[in-house]
Structure formats: structure tokens, C-alpha cells
């Protein structure tokens, strides 16, 4: 039985078969295959049309959401701007609308000028330039036939592209170990390419590469890797990123490494289908398939034995490769580099020693550290406090969790998300390299993690990834356009605000989750971003950080006091994750009331509860208004996934708001500790008595409540001077109840050694307070209420006879 074929997703279209340079390392003209001599110089319009038709039918047959076409040569610019314009138009005419077309041209840059750039801009063509490094390196091979250097022309081409970054795809550098790797890398990196490709020179066991040392290519690349790593991994280098990605179980990013099946095919200027271009280095005729674009479909090419041989993954490798510890990252190297007369391609790569050394080095240098928490920081947090330094440790670990969740969402939902989600992921990962602060500012918004966790649970709202990407693009000030998700008639940009796109929805107080069953694809609108402004078809054009420009834009407002500021989050559709419903958009009067209460509450915290203030400054980023509480009650809440957010209905007085904030932030801190450390046995399903609850609590609930009540106890302890009668009674009550709960935890038998240590520190704080004098009446009332609550609880939970 034949296995399903692997569809092609990458198409190399040879638009011109000659070149204006005479590089002596060129595989097209200088290596074994000499088929170029019999090809037409320029691809015909008919061949282009048939190519577009073949790709389109392949896309439809295999429901491909994205394909990549590279206009290649020889030197493709020899075809001239008019012909390239026609080719690009033909491809777009057949493919736009049925899939995303990533259209590129790969050039030596000699002929690139404004005329070409205009064509490429109009047709959405990105440009990659071959450049072997600094002038000395580039001149070693990349010369005109008369020996002149091409370096100046290539640099001029790159400068044209740097002035039009939307066209700039990257630089391709063929490695020559005779060159200085530092000079090569620095020269390339200075040109700020979106990506650098280092290519091993094509070679086989029959014609091995120059090798001054046993692993000279590894040594050369390792020197660059160390520079690159020291620079923080920018600009992106595909070879290194591919090794890192595959070492972590991800995809290979290049055909020359990894076990993924090849999905690339070449269409020559005469319309012949060929296998990978690199095979030209093996033997004359090696890439040929005997198939032609006018006669044969791409499915027929995909069934060609030579193509299938490059799609067998591990099974297609020789025994030595299959047993190799780095085979996941190496994949036997480039197929062509395995060739040896007699045994064909059933060999390791001629670069085997280099690949083993390079991959081993990169893996060793990028092995994953894990988060740690200094013991002193853990103890400080366990005592119920923890200042800025301790909360910073927790906040830093949250960054890893958010990045993991975002990548997991993309992996889980990306395939179904199609081109829109692919573009969103490209934008956000690109910004992560170029504007990491902007990405982090958005990801750190508490409800991004809430969204990601929900999306991983039920797959809903995956399209919100585009909204996250656009919010990051706004903060980065870059130019981008994406189809963003509409929820409840509005487009929400996390951390920035919400834009009404459906007037009927203006003024809504709840955001219905209506995009799953009735509208599986979800509604989207195209949002364009440039220089920090956002624009929407229909005339909306606004600066989201300058409120008041557009009546339908509702920014996240901020509360400020004492040099501290938090967002007042009443826009995020994923904020409604608390036990009580989130409030709708607040009126200006209500915002003013929040500001007054916050200013007074923060002043109280800083003056009376100063130990809590530094941690709050670091970790509290958002206050989320809840719907008004039932009469006589105060409500507040913390959601485990919303690190940095405290939700509350605006209480009657600022002192209560201060209490709600410090209490809820205890949950924020402990939730973050539990995110990274095991304090108890999660498999223990018993329920325990909690003095402040009428229902039996699981161990985590008891731990959370007890930890939070340390702050409640402390609040009333320090408030005894301002509110003597009430505060003393509350202090007496909560220190007693908290101390009792701590002993329940300690005796539970469910704590890990680390959890035992944590609870010991909790006990140390409360034990000191037990020695503080309170009136006999307050003590008696605390004892009485504790007894009454316990008796009532026991009666309620005991089996009835």
C-alpha cells in the first residue's frame, strides 16, 4: 500500500538560467550537473502560467494554507523588472485567495535598483541577497567574470532594502573557512538582516570540501555562534535556530538539517521539474525527474522515487546516522552532501564531523536552565511578606510560563488557524526578536495568560493571538496589518483597550462568548498599525495611547498614587474569570471614585503596611472592577492565571480597599510560588476545616486562605490605633483562626518538605502576633466565635443519622 504523499510547499522557480557574476563556488555552473547549458535563458510566460496553475491545483488538492515561491536563477534580476512583474502577477493571480503566498526573489544584488524595488513592493515580493561577509570574504569567490569585486554592488542592494524593510528578507552567506568568521559575522550583522543563512558549500564524498582541520566548519560556525549568543540571538541565524528548535522537539527550519520530509521542488526555465537544486553537486543529471510542468502535475512529481527518498526521515538514513545522538537535529545533513559514487546517498554527510561537533556544542550551550528561588526569598514570601526583590523573582518566572503557554496555544491551534494565525505568530515572534519589551508588555497583561489557559482547555478564541500580536506591534511602533478577532462587537487589544467596531455593541457591559458553535471561524476585521497608530477600514485612525481621538476607542485607564500606577482594567474580554462578574465599562465618575479610593488606600498601605508596598509595586499591575456587591458585602477576587491582577467591587472606604488589595495580593504571590514549586501533594483529595469558610476546603484552598489571612491579621493588627474597638476584635479573631489553620496544614501530612518549611515560616509570623496583648473581651469574643463556627461547620458536614 502506498503511503500518502507529502505535498510540496516550497517552489523554486528558475526565472533566468544565466548569471552576471562568475562565482567560482557556484553549484549551478561549477559543479557536476551542467544541465544549465541546455536550458533557455529566460522562463517563458507560458511556463510561468502553467507553473501557477500547477501550484494552484496542488494547493487545492491538499488544502494548503500557505506556500512559498522563490524566484531564482542563475541571477533572477537578469529577467528584468517587467518580466518579474508579470511572473509575480501571474503567481498572485492564481494563488491569492486560495492560500497565503510567500513570494520571494533571491539575488546577488548587482542589478537591484528602485525600479525592481517598486515592482517587488507592488507585488509583495521579499528579497534575499547573497553576501559572503566582509569585503575580503565576499571577494574570495563572488566576482565578475573579469575578476572585479561585486561587494560594493551587493552592499548598495542591501542598503536599498534596509530603506524598504518590508522587502528585506535576509542575507545568504556561503561558508568558507579561509575567511575570518568574526569579520564575516560582524559584517553581516551590521546590515541588520531579518535573517542570516549560513550555507555549507556544496560538496560530496567524491569531491569533499577544503578541510584544513578535522572539524574546520564546526569550529568556524561555533565561533560565530558564540558571538551570536552573546548578542542575544539577534539577528536570527537560521542554522542555529534550527538546531535549538529541533533539540527542543520543535521543527527544523531548514532543509539542510533535521528529519522533516523535504517539501521543495524546482521548476527550471524550460518547465522541467527538478529535485532540490543542491543535487547538482552530486552528479550530472542528479536533480532530474523527467517530468514537466506542461504535462505533469505536482502530485506526480511528489511520487517520484528521488523525491520520496528525501521524505523518509529517520528510516531514510544510513545506520551510522540512525544511531547518532544528534540525529534529530542533524537529519543526516543536506541530502546532496551524503553522495558517494557506489553507495549513492546511503552515507552520513561529508560534513558529519562538523555537524556532530556544532550541534553538540549548540545543544550544550543552550541546555535549559530552570527557574530558581533563593532560599531567603522563599522564606520571606513564606512569612507572608516578601518585598520587591522576592516578587521580582516570581514575576520573572511568570514570563517563562506565559511564553510557554503562548507557544503551546500556537502549536495546538495554529494548524486550524490557517494563514491568519500564521501571520499573527510570525508578527509576534518577529517582534519578540526586534522589540522584546513591547511583546513582554503585552504578554505581561494578566488576562493574556487567562486567555491562553482557556484556549488550551477548549480551543476557543485562538484568533485572539492576532489581537495580542497587534497590541505588541502598536507598542513597538512598527508597521503591520492583521485580521484581528471581534468579540462582542469590539476589537480588544490587550493592555491597550477596546475598539467598538459594531455600534450596536457600544455600551455593553458583558462580552458574550459567541464565536464557537455559531461562528466557528469567528468574525475578524483588518487592523493596520503604523507608528503606534491603528487604522481600520471605514475611517478609524487613532493613537490608542492618546485617549479621546475616537469615540469608539476605550483605552485602559490608569490609577496613580505616590509614584505608583496600575491599570483599571474594564475592557478585557477575558477578565471575567473571577467568582463575581466583572463590571462593565466604568463611567468617568466611577473612574474618579476609584482614583480617589486608590490614592487613599495606597497612602494607607505605604504608611501603615509598608512591608507590603514594595512587592505590590513590582507585582500588582491591574485592578479589575467587579460588579457591585450585594448590600452589606465587600467582594474581591484573584484568579490563579491572572498574575498581577486583583479584582474588587469598589468598597465603601479606602481602608477596606487597602485590605482587599493586600489580602488578594497574597493570593497572587502564593499562586506564583505554586506555579513553580511543589508545596503539597496534589493527589491528596481530602477536605479540611477552614475557620473562615462554611465548606470543607481542599488543601490548596486552605493554604491559600491561611496565607491570605496572615495579611488580614496584620492589617487589623496595625489598624488598632486608627480603629481601636473594631480592629482589636478583628485582630484577635484572625490571629486565632489563622494560627489554627496553620496547625491544620502542618498536621495534614500532605505537605512536601518544601511545603513544611513554607508553613513553618507562616507560623513564625503569626506566633509572634499571638504574644501581643489584646483585651480579655476581644480574646473571649474571638474564642466564642471560633467555637460557634466550628460547631456549626461540624454539624453541617457530619453524616446525618
Amino acid at each position: 500500500m502506498s503511503r500518502p504523499l507529502t505535498p510540496f510547499r516550497q517552489f523554486v522557480l528558475k526565472v533566468h538560467s544565466r548569471c552576471d557574476l562568475a562565482c567560482d563556488h557556484c553549484y549551478v555552473y561549477e559543479h557536476a550537473d551542467q544541465s544549465w547549458r541546455g536550458r533557455p535563458k529566460v522562463i517563458s510566460d507560458e511556463t510561468v502560467s502553467w507553473t501557477a496553475v500547477r501550484i494552484a491545483e496542488h494547493v487545492k488538492a491538499h488544502a494548503l494554507n500557505r506556500v512559498h515561491v522563490v524566484m531564482h536563477g542563475g541571477e533572477p534580476l537578469l529577467a528584468g523588472p517587467d518580466r518579474l512583474d508579470r511572473i509575480a502577477a501571474e503567481l498572485r493571480g492564481h494563488l491569492d485567495g486560495i492560500c497565503a503566498l510567500d513570494l520571494r526573489v533571491h539575488t546577488n544584488g548587482v542589478l537591484l535598483d528602485e525600479r525592481f524595488c517598486e515592482v517587488f513592493a507592488a507585488r509583495g515580493v521579499k528579497v534575499g541577497v547573497s553576501l559572503d561577509g566582509d569585503r575580503a570574504a565576499n571577494d574570495r569567490h563572488r566576482r565578475f567574470a573579469d575578476g572585479r569585486s561585486s561587494h560594493a554592488q551587493a552592499l548598495r542592494a542591501v542598503e536599498l532594502l534596509r530603506a524598504r524593510p518590508e522587502l528585506y528578507a535576509g542575507l545568504l552567506c556561503t561558508v568558507d573557512v579561509a575567511n575570518d568568521p568574526v569579520a564575516v559575522y560582524r559584517a553581516l550583522a551590521e546590515l541588520e538582516p531579518p535573517r542570516i543563512d549560513f550555507l555549507l558549500p556544496h560538496a560530496t564524498w567524491d569531491v569533499p570540501p577544503p578541510r584544513p582541520a578535522p572539524a574546520a566548519y564546526a569550529d568556524w560556525l561555533i565561533e560565530i555562534f558564540e558571538l551570536w549568543a552573546a548578542d542575544g540571538g539577534a539577528p536570527p541565524v537560521r542554522m542555529f535556530e534550527s538546531i535549538i528548535s529541533t533539540a527542543r522537539g520543535g521543527s527544523s527550519l531548514t532543509e539542510s538539517l533535521g528529519l522533516q520530509p523535504s517539501d521543495l521542488v524546482v521548476i527550471e526555465t524550460d518547465g522541467s521539474y527538478e529535485q532540490a537544486d543542491s543535487l547538482k553537486t552530486a552528479f550530472d543529471g542528479a536533480p532530474a525527474t523527467g517530468l514537466h510542468v506542461l504535462r505533469d502535475t505536482l502530485d506526480e512529481v511528489a511520487r517520484h522515487t528521488g523525491v520520496l527518498a528525501r521524505q523518509r526521515g529517520l528510516a531514510g538514513l544510513c545506520g551510522q546516522c540512525r544511531a547518532c545522538p544528534v540525529v534529530d537535529s542533524c537529519g543526516g545533513g543536506l541530502y546532496a552532501h551524503r553522495y558517494r559514487s557506489g553507495s549513492g546517498f546511503a552515507n552520513p554527510s561529508v560534513y558529519c564531523a562538523d555537524l556532530l561537533k556544532l550541534i553538540t556544542h549548540v545543544r550544550g550551550r543552550t541546555s535549559e536552565p530552570t527557574h530558581t528561588l533563593p532560599s531567603a526569598a522563599l522564606d520571606a514570601l513564606a512569612s507572608g511578606f516578601g518585598g520587591g526583590n522576592e516578587v521580582t523573582h516570581l514575576a520573572e518566572s511568570q514570563r517563562s510560563l506565559r511564553r510557554a503557554l503562548l507557544a503551546a496555544v500556537n502549536a495546538a491551534t495554529g494548524p486550524a488557524g490557517g494563514a491568519v494565525q500564521e501571520r499573527a505568530w510570525e508578527l509576534i515572534t518577529g517582534l519578540d526578536g526586534t522589540h522584546p519589551g513591547a511583546v513582554e508588555a503585552v504578554l505581561a497583561h494578566p488576562y493574556v495568560r487567562v486567555w491562553a489557559a482557556g484556549c488550551l482547555r477548549d480551543g476557543r478564541h485562538a484568533g485572539h493571538l492576532a489581537n495580542i500580536a497587534v497590541a505588541a506591534a502598536v507598542r513597538a511602533g512598527v508597521t503591520a496589518a492583521l485580521d484581528v478577532r471581534v468579540l462582542g462587537g469590539a476589537v480588544h487589544l490587550p493592555s491597550l483597550g477596546v475598539l467598538d467596531v459594531d455600534p450596536a455593541a457600544a455600551g455593553r457591559t458583558a462580552w458574550p462568548e459567541t464565536d464557537s458553535a455559531a461562528h466557528p471561524a469567528g468574525r475578524t476585521v483588518r487592523l493596520e498599525v503604523s507608528g503606534g497608530r491603528i487604522a481600520l477600514d471605514g475611517g478609524v485612525d487613532l493613537d490608542p495611547l492618546a485617549p479621546g481621538e475616537w469615540p469608539g476607542w476605550h483605552p485602559v485607564r490608569r490609577l496613580s498614587a505616590g509614584g505608583f500606577s496600575v491599570g483599571l482594567e474594564d475592557t478585557d474580554p477575558f477578565r471575567d474569570c473571577h467568582q463575581w462578574p466583572a463590571a462593565g465599562r466604568l463611567t468617568d465618575d466611577r473612574v474618579a471614585a476609584w482614583q480617589r479610593a486608590f490614592a487613599e488606600a495606597w497612602a494607607l498601605i505605604e504608611s501603615e503596611l509598608p512591608a507590603y508596598a514594595p512587592g505590590l509595586r513590582v507585582g500588582l499591575s491591574v485592578l479589575t472592577p467587579l460588579a457591585p456587591a450585594p448590600e452589606g458585602r465587600e467582594v474581591s477576587s484573584t484568579a490563579r492565571h491572572a498574575f498581577g491582577a486583583v479584582a474588587a467591587a469598589l468598597p465603601d472606604g479606602p481602608a477596606t480597599l487597602a485590605l482587599l488589595i493586600v489580602h488578594e495580593f497574597q493570593h497572587v504571590k502564593l499562586g506564583a510560588v505554586l506555579d513553580i514549586l511543589d508545596l503539597y501533594d496534589e493527589g491528596d483529595t481530602r477536605r479540611f476545616y477552614a475557620p473562615w469558610r462554611d465548606d470543607p476546603r481542599p488543601l490548596e484552598g486552605l493554604l491559600q486562605g491561611t496565607y491570605a489571612h496572615i495579611a488580614v491579621t496584620d492589617f487589623w493588627r496595625v489598624r488598632r490605633h486608627a480603629d481601636p474597638g473594631r480592629a482589636e476584635a478583628q485582630f484577635a479573631r484572625w490571629r486565632r483562626d489563622t494560627a489554627e489553620a496553620i496547625e491544620t496544614l502542618a498536621a495534614s501530612g500532605a505537605l512536601t518538605p518544601l511545603g513544611g518549611r513554607f508553613v513553618t515560616e507562616m507560623r513564625r509570623s503569626v506566633a509572634a502576633w499571638l504574644d501581643e496583648p489584646v483585651s480579655a473581651a476581644a480574646e473571649a469574643e474571638a474564642a466564642r466565635s471560633a467555637r460557634v463556627h466550628r460547631e456549626r461547620w461540624t454539624a453541617a458536614v457530619s453524616p446525618r443519622s
Binding site: 540571538g233 536570527p236 535549538i244 528548535s245 533539540a247 527542543r248 522537539g249 520543535g250 535549559e368 536552565p369 530552570t370 527557574h371 530558581t372 528561588l373 533563593p374 532560599s375 531567603a376 520573572e396 518566572s397 514570563r399 517563562s400 510560563l401 511564553r403 510557554a404 503557554l405 507557544a407 515572534t429 519578540d432 526578536g433 489557559a453 488550551l456 482547555r457 474569570c577 473571577h578 467568582q579 456587591a629 465587600e634 467582594v635 474581591s636 477576587s637 484573584t638 484568579a639 490563579r640 492565571h641 482587599l660 489580602h663 488578594e664 493570593h667 499562586g671 506555579d675 514549586l677 493527589g683 483529595t685 473562615w692 481542599p698 490548596e700 484552598g701 488580614v712 478583628q730 518544601l754
Partner: protein, 57 residues
Amino acid sequence: MNASGEKQTDVTSDVRDLRDVPLSLVGRADFDGIVRRILPGSPEVRRVPVAAFNSSI
């Protein structure tokens, strides 16, 4: 060592440090463990999703 001469130690988590890993390179081997940790799928594991507070204060 701290000021009192006591040796400072770290408590080590099994959560991978992904802060400096390019987002594009955060792979399954990176996120699987974290997702399992913070979104446990086992029905035996009950998390307290919301820490809610009311007027019992």
C-alpha cells in the same frame, strides 16, 4: 554567603527558564512540562482557580 556568613542556597523549580529563548524557538519539549504543571489534566488534581474573598472580614 550572606552577611551573617550563612551559605545562600537556591530552591530549584522544574519550570524551564524560557525568558531568553526566542518565542519562535519555544518548542514542545519546553512547553509540555509547563502546561502539564499549570493546567493539570488529571481529574485527581483539583486546583483552586479563584481565590475569592468576601465580607467575612
